[in-house]
Symmetry: C2
Amino acid sequence: MNFGKLKEAVFGKPIASKHAHQERLPKRVALPVFASDALSSTAYATEEIMRTFLHVSPKFMAGGISMSLGYAFLSQTFNIAILICILIVIVSLSYSQTIKAYPGGGGSYTVAKENLGTWPGRLAGASLLIDYILTVAVSVSAGVLALISFNTQLQPYVLHLNCFFILLITIANLRGAKESGALFSIPTYTFVLLFGTLIVYGTFFAAGHPAPPEVALATEELKRVAPNPTELIGWAWILIGFKAFSSGCTALTGIEAISNGTQAFKEPVSRNAAITLWWMAGILSFLFVGGSYLAEKFHIIPMEFGEPGFKTVVAMITQATFPQNTSFGVGYFTAMQFATAGILILAANTAYADFPRLASIIARDNYLPRQLAVVGDRLVYQNGIIILAVTSCLLIVKFGGDTSKLIPLYAIGVFASFTLSQFGMVVHQRKDKKSLATQAVSFFGGTITLIITVVIAVSKWTAGAWVVFIAVPLVLSMMLAIQRHYRYLARELEITPEDKVLPARTVTLLLVPRVHRGILNAISYARALSEDVRALHVTIDPKTVAKVKEDWVKHGQEMPLVILESPYRSLVGPIIDYVEQTLSEDPEVFVTVIVPESVPRRLWHRLLHTNAAIPLKAALGARKRVVITNVRHYLK
Amino acid sequence: MNFGKLKEAVFGKPIASKHAHQERLPKRVALPVFASDALSSTAYATEEIMRTFLHVSPKFMAGGISMSLGYAFLSQTFNIAILICILIVIVSLSYSQTIKAYPGGGGSYTVAKENLGTWPGRLAGASLLIDYILTVAVSVSAGVLALISFNTQLQPYVLHLNCFFILLITIANLRGAKESGALFSIPTYTFVLLFGTLIVYGTFFAAGHPAPPEVALATEELKRVAPNPTELIGWAWILIGFKAFSSGCTALTGIEAISNGTQAFKEPVSRNAAITLWWMAGILSFLFVGGSYLAEKFHIIPMEFGEPGFKTVVAMITQATFPQNTSFGVGYFTAMQFATAGILILAANTAYADFPRLASIIARDNYLPRQLAVVGDRLVYQNGIIILAVTSCLLIVKFGGDTSKLIPLYAIGVFASFTLSQFGMVVHQRKDKKSLATQAVSFFGGTITLIITVVIAVSKWTAGAWVVFIAVPLVLSMMLAIQRHYRYLARELEITPEDKVLPARTVTLLLVPRVHRGILNAISYARALSEDVRALHVTIDPKTVAKVKEDWVKHGQEMPLVILESPYRSLVGPIIDYVEQTLSEDPEVFVTVIVPESVPRRLWHRLLHTNAAIPLKAALGARKRVVITNVRHYLK
């Protein structure tokens, strides 16, 4: 009872099934819940592009000075952002069709499975499960980076902060979806407002800071020495561009969340979901392109994770826009960092809404343990939530909380499932005899995202993309093994004409180590249970036998007492032999072994007691006609 | 069955109780089994004395050169060893009286408890339990040091080697005492032979190496500047001497083993044990004094653990005696190192023989869990052995395998229990009206060891002796808490005149999630069990109810089917309510809840199954009249 109350206090009261439909969200709440993932990626996507440029190692000689090409390339950040923005529009167009076709929620898994077949479905399922875990890891770790940018003294506590926030979101989600929505609106809207205002002010009113000398020099020299960069490094130009582009594609992660969760919208579901999707795409593009523009305008150079005084690019943009020598500037910076941390940490919530939902769909297809398909007391899928929390936490610890190391693992699965989902939509639209134009949009989206998947896989291979090519097959083979077991189980449990409920008699054996108050209840139970009931005493210590016999006459209710010798001082051995013998004497008999157990109230006291039922079950549990049961006597 | 066979292969066949007396050992086997601890301490005791000297930090100025006093003091090693040798004789004299008085095995615990009372007995018990653990940790870690002295490239694998050897001894001991004796003779006798020959040859035939310059200089300067060292450092002289003496006292550890294990000797027990004790004391003194003499003669300077190319003092003595440029020298060194490692690693066996035996004696006094009092299949106390293995392994890992750090924890408990045991003997002899001379020997021994206990506690306080002053009270309070619980249990389980075996009826409830082959056996059992038997189905998914009802008509044997609604989709909640209601309707009823369970053969498949009995037991287990039982269906 106490545990029940504690559970209620932390996770809220249980919700009855008939209230399920009330858990649907209005658009203004659905936007923060489902869009926080996509929008929050603007906090790191620009930085990822710039970091790719910085990691360009070749140097070029200009006027006798060795110059890093990377600095020169930073001026291409805005152009890359614009390209990615076009991609956002293409993908959104494709997903708005998915929303119409699947108002009940059309995640890539469902779409791929229904239209492309079992194997693409499984592939999409495995990729998505891994991606949701990475969503949590990337978002929370990036959120913590925003916090340590605000106060660089927090840097040694990166992992503590990460684990703390994962715990926080986990509890919030175990409480249920509706409260989450309300909880998540404030930071999302605050972030959009603050970042938007920053972009507008920064673009039109803030003075561009003079470029840091190394950037200015590199850019100018590059222009002078090689007005056409291909002259300098040939085709590498394109490779670097591809790398930067695929890094920036992380801005698209989370864009599919609305189409997965359509069923959480209010009626009319499709219309509301589509409107929310386009709002999201618009805000996302604006923040991403704007942020990238400001980074270039203010000549920001990203810092390396772990460097003393580490700050994110967004933090540096904010400080460049609002000079930190005014209290307004400091206040704005503070608010911006907390809002960024807030939306990022809450972005993990998208995965918390979707992972358990997807896991339960897959579990109902028998690819995952059935425990994941069970709906908990608060209409959420508790087991899935807990798995998500634990695995993402392990990932963050493994990568030391460095977001940049997690992102290459992340984007490839996202784009693979984009691709499967969109090609699935093409097939779906053909079945529904939709116009060729409609089909073309999905086909075009699918082709583009397929190309990008390949580009990411190749360009990010050494940076970690290979991990995905090991993780996905592992998850896939686990899913297949689970399905094989459940199929086998269904066959095995099918009742055939030969299966009959056989008539049976029972023999009850009551273990009596010595006669004390703890077994009186068990005597009473054993007598009520069957006609043929015998008490068993194993003589470990021959000196005590007489006392047991004497006591049994007083309290044994005329039940026969069988004394078993134990030459090897084993308690369990002679009982096993006796049970085997009883079974062999009568093929219709069920043997019930009653093990009286004195259970102390305190947990540590239980370590001082042995329970003979455990070794008996290990030895006899596989016997069809043996049932071993404890009758407990609770101590006061 | 398979587990039983595996167990037999690893641990040997079980031995019947009536063969127990055959497990007694002849002297030539008892010596290696019980003396390996004491003898093996010669492998590190000399080194501990020398290391204490080296750690003397004050420097003295002589002829304008700053000189470490430590090097100068190394020349006192032999004198300290002679003093400790006298102590060995005193303690052996005292223990030979214990052997006569307690032919059934008189460990400090028994002697102190019977003669000095409960509290000294408990104190001796707690100290000894901790000491046996430390014996294993010190011996095994020192044995590994002998191996890494042989091949310094093994240094990075110190902890792996430690864990490996503990595992090895553990398995050997679970196999039983007699085989252990045979197994342990070879390394012990080899060590004694090799070390003894080394001492004789080194003393009389090997040329003394010229002293290393720093030692020679320090010794000479000290003699010249201060022929009487007190002039130089005053009373510190005595303090340093005390420290070195108490470090060297580690040579006595294990000397009590024979008196603890007297009952393992052949008849006449006392005589055989006493003869073995004096043989042991003689060999121990010879090896210890001889080794210390050679260390001084060859001007050995101990190395620090972890230093590259680390070698023990004994290894350095061996190399100094037999020059390593001949194949005989190399061969002798190899044999000596392996024999040293062998006797040290096997020395842990003393603790493996004594810890479980002591734990079972203490457990029978209700100070330790009763599981420790149970004699296993092979006349050894398996639970004690396993606890000893785990805790000593943890200690070694905690201290990184550095023997020197473990020794200060070790010696203090050993001498405390020496003291308690010998004062206990004084009381025992007074009761038996023994001669005053006999009493005086024990009293003198007790006084000396008491003084040494205090000296060790003070001089080694900061080096780790304080840990013992925390560990012993902790173990003591654990022992008291356990005794309190068992006393309470005995009171609680006493049958009073009010306790009656009440008449009872049973209602059997069979959980039916759906009708499949896995529950047919359970139906058959439930019907045989009682007249009033009902099937319960909880409707998690309302769509499946009709199917369950239909199937039940076919296979349910006319048992009534109760359908329970579950508004919160909880399986367990409605069952709990139903059970509570059934109990409240009839005060004499026992409710048996039968949970059919399909058990797959493979362990990982079991993760894919849930067992409703577990949450039901958690919720209802404390109810006096509810019994929850699984009827298992094993899958093929």
